[in-house]
């Protein structure tokens, strides 16, 4: 079973510089665990201590954002292409009386 995973620049130190790696699994969580076995440390950059998907990454299975597919429970299959991108977001410091910034949650 081979699922291609595209790795962003910031995580390539875990994959020896590789832009794309292959892994297996029935769900995104299993796939990440599988990759972590070969590339230690990768999982902790994608999954929080509480076991959720990190808000600092966007993960896509083919053309869909996994947050709409059950996040770490998203189903993956042989031949799928998974893309990991660093989330691009931010906010100004909140001034007194200003609306509270909305934070992205997994």
């Amino acid at each position: 079973m081979a699922i291609e995973v595209r790795i962003p620049t910031i995580l390539r130190s875990y994959t020896g510089g590789a832009k794309a790696v292959e892994g297996s699994g029935e769900t995104l969580r299993e796939l990440i665990e599988n990759l972590d076995a070969t590339y230690p440390g990768l999982r902790d950059r994608l999954i929080t201590a509480e076991g959720g998907l990190h808000r600092f990454v966007n993960v896509y299975v083919n053309d869909e954002d996994v947050r709409f597919l059950g996040a770490l429970d998203a189903k993956v299959s042989d031949g799928d292409s998974v893309t990991i991108l660093p989330a691009v977001a931010g906010g100004a410091p909140v001034a007194a009386g200003a609306p509270v910034a909305r934070f992205v949650t997994a």
């Binding site: 962003p8 620049t9 966007n58 053309d63 991108l85 691009v88 931010g90 906010g91 100004a92 609306p99």
Partner: protein, 197 residues
């Protein structure tokens, strides 16, 4: 690969960017004010040269928060990959505070090779523009070196509005900005301040 402005015995990171692209970024920030604006300037991989301006939708549509729209981001990223480009500049605006990265900005900075450009539109007649490298949570300001021209080797800047409003023209309103204030770096400064003519 960093564009560097060499001083005797010292190599300093600098953002070199064309006036046309700076104007386009400022126009975008002014259009979206008071919501934060955000976008990318792509360039050939390894060139450290911003050539293609890509204004992005702020999916948060907030005055104090921004995030790239997830699917637009994927599409833009795939397009960059196909063109052998990378994000050279990632910019966003602060509409009521200074052009300095917030703690949230720093936490989310996930493209270590990018120049993080902050634009402040808090003043109506002055736009503050400062550039930073954000690597491993460390912020380092760098000078902005504005050059003449349209920012691409072919001499033409591409301007593709990504905002959802089809009626927005990607033009610069000469009345919107009367002067620019660029970040000051005591080591090396090479910039132009323009006022409306």
């Amino acid at each position: 690969m960093l564009a560097a402005f060499r001083r005797p015995g010292r190599l300093v990171s600098v953002l070199t960017i064309s006036q046309a692209i700076v104007d386009a970024i400022v126009a975008h920030a002014r259009r979206d004010h008071p919501d934060e604006a955000c976008g990318i300037v792509a360039g050939p991989v390894g060139s450290d040269t911003p050539t293609r301006h890509i204004p992005m939708t702020n999916a948060a549509r907030s005055m104090t928060f921004y995030e790239f729209d997830s699917m637009e981001y994927l599409r833009v990223w795939r397009e960059m990959e196909a063109r052998d480009e990378e994000p050279v500049v990632i910019y966003h605006s602060h509409t009521a505070t200074e052009a300095y990265p917030s703690r949230t900005d720093i936490a989310y900075a996930g493209w270590p090779q990018a120049h993080y450009l902050l634009v402040s539109t808090r003043e109506p007649d002055v736009t503050e523009i400062r550039s930073f490298r954000i690597v491993d949570g460390t912020v380092t300001e760098e000078p902005v070196r504005v050059v003449e021209g349209h920012g691409s080797p072919e001499g033409a800047a591409e301007l593709r509005p990504q905002s959802s409003d089809p009626n927005r023209e990607p033009t610069v309103d000469p009345n919107a900005v009367q002067s620019y204030l660029f970040g000051q770096n005591p080591v090396t400064v090479d910039y132009e301040c323009r006022s409306a003519s």
